[in-house]
């Protein structure tokens, strides 16, 4: 296992996990996982289904507490009380199911849970004009030119909804952005659009934690790669220390992939056997 040592140079990590473990009863969901998220960098967490990616997200986003190890925000040992506490510390999570309400207009979704208000007492009301204007402007800044902020968010495409969720997190001053499989359900083109916004968030100075099971997408944008397998760390690499092929191999589990290839190999067809053999002969030097 090529566990590279974490370079200590550069900016201090905003979020740092060290040897973190989580158990659900007698099930080991996560054990001894370490991860650092730095401002202006994209940390990719790669793993197959059941590798512990979701558990890892839940710990960082405050939905679950960790059972062992150390969880530091700004170098300070922390235990988050809930998602709200995580948000207050600047950790925003864009969940796979996106945390949007499909039937509500885009502008209402954009500000959901943090609606700006004006007036006081019984006249305290949402600043609707500001909300609509800002939602439109912020999405435009991310390069999404929305037809109508009044349209239900459920009518946007999957990629657009991801982008709205990312724009929302950036607008609300997130310093750490956790993206849970943002490209999982998307086509090639839509994935490209989302990856562009992931990069835009990085360029805006956020620390991005990008969870995925697609090494191609990870390698396009990632600075460092944490590989999870069955709840444990299977590797930690920086971008310059690994190739895409190697990353893919490690993620799938190189030997398993060879096994699979072997199992799926087509048996030699029977009828043109002679021709195939002749072919084989010819190719031999």
């Amino acid at each position: 296992m090529t566990t590279a040592t974490e370079p200590t140079a550069g900016p201090a990590p905003l979020v740092e996990l060290e040897q973190v473990s989580k158990y659900y009863g007698n099930v080991r969901a996560l054990e001894g996982v370490s991860l650092q998220a730095r401002a202006g960098e994209i940390t990719c967490v790669l793993g197959d289904n059941g590798a512990g990616k979701s558990t890892l997200i839940k710990i960082i986003s405050g939905l679950h507490g960790h059972d062992a190890g150390s969880f530091r925000i700004d170098g300070e040992e922390t235990r988050l009380a809930g998602p709200r506490a995580a948000l207050d510390r600047g950790i925003a999570t864009v969940h796979q199911d996106l945390a949007v309400v499909p039937l509500m207009p885009v502008w209402r979704n954009f500000f959901l849970g943090s609606e700006p208000t004006r007036g006081r007492g019984p006249l305290r009301r949402m600043d609707v004009e500001f909300m609509r204007r800002t939602a439109h402007a912020e999405l435009l800044r991310m390069g999404i030119d929305l037809r109508d902020v009044d349209q239900p968010i459920g009518t946007l495409s999957g990629g657009e909804r991801q982008c709205v969720a990312i724009a929302r997190a950036v607008y609300f001053g997130a310093r750490v952005l956790i993206l849970d499989e943002p490209t999982a359900a998307l086509g090639v083109k839509q994935s490209g659009v989302v990856l562009k916004y992931v990069a835009a968030a990085r360029d805006a100075g956020l620390a991005v934690v990008f969870i995925t099971h697609n090494p191609h997408h990870a390698y396009l944008v990632g600075d460092r790669f944490v590989l999870l397998k069955r709840g444990t760390m299977a590797g930690l690499h920086t971008r310059d220390a690994i190739t895409l092929d190697e990353l893919t191999r490690q993620m799938v589990g190189g030997d398993e992939l060879d096994d699979l290839r072997h199992q799926l190999e087509r048996p030699e067809p029977d009828v043109p056997r002679g021709a195939a053999a002749a072919d084989e002969e010819r190719r031999r030097p």
């Binding site: 998602p83 309400v101 499909p102 039937l103 959901l112 849970g113 435009l140």
Partner: protein, 349 residues
């Protein structure tokens, strides 16, 4: 982050065909109900000669308001994704508590009114608390409350009054004032109408304000539309739902006091079945039964359809048994229409 001149910054978008006013109208949740209300109105205007008289319309509005007062918070609750099957009998509970407390304590009726408010709100809070604690379906929780309230309404009344109705409070201190607030008849331009219509309009206005312009309104749509998402972005889901149940309780209190002060006595077996009428009014008014969509005004139109149908049948001198048939047919038609309208509205965005 400067949202400077975004309107000017946004270039004309070729995808954005100017939304026609008609399309905007089609997108309103209460459209189906309004079409239905107009149809019912025209129907009875022809079917019953006396239907268009001012006094008849005042009667229709009164019938609509007694349902509408409850339909408004029930609609909000439904937008928030929940039901309240105990709403109908809670009205009776509220009236009974008010009446029996004042009578037994020989206190000013306002004391009973106040105690009733506390008890009624407590029942609402209980519904909300049980729902958010146990996470059982609201259908089960409020069905339980519904049955318990029916039993308690009859049981306590028999225990205290020794009959199934309460003793009259008409000769007690404070009664005239309370009647003026909850059950008086006002005259405006020669037409007399019940004060419940004002209560109803007030509730519609307040509920619409909350729903469309406040943070709480945003949260109501969100907890009904996608509870998990709402929780994830920090919406206080529990408080929102408990608040919605207490809103139903508040309206039940107003209705209950109206019941008491217009008849002086309360029949303890009343209210059963009304909970469904409130829900029907909300659904006819465009509330999505699965939550996340609807309006307070829609529920008012639904209640108006109810009022026009129930009284229109009387004015047309038909058997009143046909009322239920009409209500059922309206419910089916309105729901189908709403469904169709929403599909169209969403398909064309």
């Amino acid at each position: 982050m400067s949202p400077a001149a975004p309107a000017a910054a946004a270039p004309a978008d070729e995808r954005l065909l100017r939304t026609s006013p008609l399309r905007r109208l089609l997108g309103r949740p209460e459209l189906g109900a309004v079409v239905g209300a107009v149809a019912v109105f025209v129907f009875f205007a022809f079917a019953a000669d006396s239907f268009l008289r001012a006094s008849s319309l005042s009667t229709v509005l009164y019938a609509a308001s007694t349902i509408g007062i409850m339909a408004v918070p029930v609609a909000l609750l439904m937008i928030g994704g929940e039901f309240d099957l105990s709403a109908g009998v809670l009205v009776t509970t509220s009236a009974l508590v008010s009446s029996m407390f004042s009578y037994q304590m020989t206190a000013n009726v306002w004391v009973g009114v106040g105690v009733s408010l506390l008890v009624t709100l407590a029942v609402g809070a209980f519904n909300g608390f049980m729902l958010t604690r146990t996470r059982l379906p609201s259908f089960i929780i409020t069905l339980g409350t519904y049955l318990m309230l029916i039993g308690m309404n009859l049981g306590f009344t028999k225990l205290i009054s020794e009959t199934v109705s309460t003793k009259t409070v008409a000769d007690m201190e404070g009664f005239p004032e309370a009647k003026a607030v909850f059950a008086s008849t006002l005259t405006l331009g020669g037409i007399s109408f019940k004060i419940t219509i004002l209560w109803w309009l007030l509730l519609i206005a307040v509920a619409s304000w909350i729903l469309l312009r406040t943070r709480a309104g945003n949260w109501i749509f969100a907890v009904g539309g996608n509870e998990a998402a709402a929780r994830a972005v920090g919406v206080p889901v529990r408080a929102t739902k408990i608040g919605l149940y207490m809103g139903v309780a508040l309206a039940a209190w107003i209705s209950g006091q109206h019941l008491l002060f217009s008849y002086d006595v309360v029949q303890s077996g009343e209210g059963v079945g009304n909970e469904l009428i409130y829900i029907i009014a909300a659904v006819i008014g465009g509330c999505l039964i699965t939550g996340g969509y609807g309006s307070a005004v829609g529920s008012a139109v639904g209640a108006l359809i109810f009022g026009m149908t129930s009284k229109g049948i009387v004015f047309a001198e038909w058997e009143s048994d046909w009322f239920k048939f009409f209500l059922g047919a309206m419910l089916l038609l309105a729901t189908l229409l709403n469904h169709w309208v929403r599909k169209r509205a969403e398909a064309t965005t």
